[in-house]
Amino acid sequence: MLSENKSPTINHTPGHVKHDGHNMTGFIIFLCSESIIFFAFFVGYGILKVTAPVWYPEGIDGIAVKEPLINTVILVSSSFVIYFAEKSLHKKNLWGFRSIWFITMLMGSYFVYGQYIEWSELSFSLQSGVFGGMFYLLTGFHGLHVITGILLMGLMLYRSFLPNNYKGGEMGVESVSLFWHFVDVIWIILFVLIYLWQ
């Protein structure tokens, strides 16, 4: 222990830590956790598919792959597009960022539209056995994430018009972009499970 007469040399560490600096860490932790829900659904899908006595509902022996494949290509390529949007923001090219970012939003919206068309053309429903339930649960839960992603992108687009928005860094844009990649990877696994593994 130090004696009283010794003058203390205090390292002044700033106590008022900026909270923004932790957003990315927190968001990555959240995404890891969120992926476990999908993981649970995927495992459930796999187990039910292997063990269920009847898989497809009556009158159906598979689902079409062609349209979903187009959808997949668009969603996966939007992941590359969003990368370039982020890159132009790093280069301080604001209008470049806004336009490419908006293109990503359009691609995401097209994916949701394609999903809607597919759903409305299907002949089975949520109640059609285990497959019906699983199909709508997985695509629906993923679709909710896509819609969330588009809304978040819209928010970031709006915020890009606010003055001094990027003073504290581009955490928001980076987080949304990370979320978009996450939604993308989940879709690829989902596509393989539902459409390719028939």
Partner: protein
Amino acid sequence: MTIINYDQRLVKSKNPYPKGPNDWKRFFSFNTDAKVIGIQYIVTALFFLLLGGLLGMLVRGELITPPSDLFDPTVYNGLYTMHGTVMLFLFLFPMLSGLTNLLVPPMIGAPDMAFPKLNALAFWLVPVFSIILLLSFFVPGGPASSGWWSYPPISIQNPLGKMINGEMLWITAISLSGISSIMGAVNFVTTIIRMRAPGMGFFKMPIFIWTVLAAQLLQLLGLPALTGGAIMLFFDLSFGTSFFRIEGGGDPVLFQHFFWFYSHPAVYVMVLPVFGIFSELFPVYARKPLFGYKFVAVASFGITILSLVVWVHHMFYTGTPMWMRNLFMFTTMLIAVPTGVKVFAWIATLWGGNLRLSTPMLFCLGGLFNFIFGGITGVMLATVPVDIHVGNTYFVVAHFHYIIFNTIAFGIFAGIYHWFPKFTGRMFYEGLGKVHFALTFIGATLNWLPLHWAGLLGMPRRVASYDPEFAIWNVIASIGAFILGVASIPFILNMVSSWVRGKAAPPNPWKAIGLEWLLPSPPPHENFEDDIPTVLNEPYCYGLDKPFVQDEQFYIDKSFKKH
């Protein structure tokens, strides 16, 4: 005997709160200060401890006589389901979130949590889902009645055919509780990873912080699986899907996998912070360094990893294949290794120590004693032949109450008493605390020790009536339960009267080492503000010539100044 030497330089202020008497209002507001949120959590949780305890006593009241005479068996089903749900999701989880909120920022020298608003939101979800859960008492058909694990096919029966029924409200409440816990876990993990004081490397963190980190990582990894299962259960119940319906090609055992993949680790989510409290308190009250600090710290992560691969031991008797039983019997028994490391470290810490038997220490010793007993019955239950024999009997009930109440709740009480002066700025009454401990220990032992015999003799759980041969064990257990109910009186009396008019607490009444004890009692709004100490050693160097922080005397002097 216990003599606690209070520091002579007591803070003489009458009201330890800076903002004046109207200050209590902040506890009813959307406050983002972790210390306020912590107390909000703890007080809410204690309210639900009383409610859950009341439900438990009603259950024990029914079981004091062999026939089902006090309640209709259907009502009884609702009572034990709600007792378990209230105790786990409304008492234990909020209580531990509260302790974690109070302790993590001061212990690591952070001003607040990483995401204060998220923190407040996570707390305010608690009253929301609590009300949803309790409303289920008033819907037609009564509350959920399929036990706290809600196994299909029982849980997806909806005899009245109503959209809003007890089970549906139960699933909604549990899912909201899960969202609240995930918000908390993201916050705790980020705070611990990013906001530690300078010099506080991982191997200089207090064990409580280690265990919180381990427990919250477990929440992040396990809880979403339960949420996934709950969503599917909800669809089965309300939207006519057949994920868990045999007649629709589904698999009810799949739900058990989802449920136990989280709900077994959930036990460790609850017990790990209590291990942390034991590890903090034994060195303080034995005046000795914690034995094997690094091993105790790493053992927390050993428990985390192993607990993710043991869940099938809850399903030994639900048609699991033999290879699965053997595998999970092995992994379950492996958990005894890191847990044993901790138990031996605590005993070695106590060995030859200068024990001060004050209330927190008594609760710790009682909790450790009960944990060793509950751990041994746990290993018995992990053994497949024993489990198939006693599964779903009162032996299981007795075992998990020995862990969940006699260990976890004891540790929580120890923690509440130990840190009470720090966060309220008042000393509690030692005598009342000892009465509380004595009643709790006697009540808990009488309540759950006899049930081991009832279970071994074959008394099944979750049944309102039983064979008269089990009567003696049940009478003793019910008396124990009522003593436990009485034990809450000295506790409430102590907490309320000490907080209102207790003696002002010095910054470090127990002469403990730790960053939180270098702060005034109660700590100022942002803890250390701009003077965060540089940590030199782990906080267990009692009696060693190793300084804890740089310029310790400066902080000690500062902690006596009024803020």
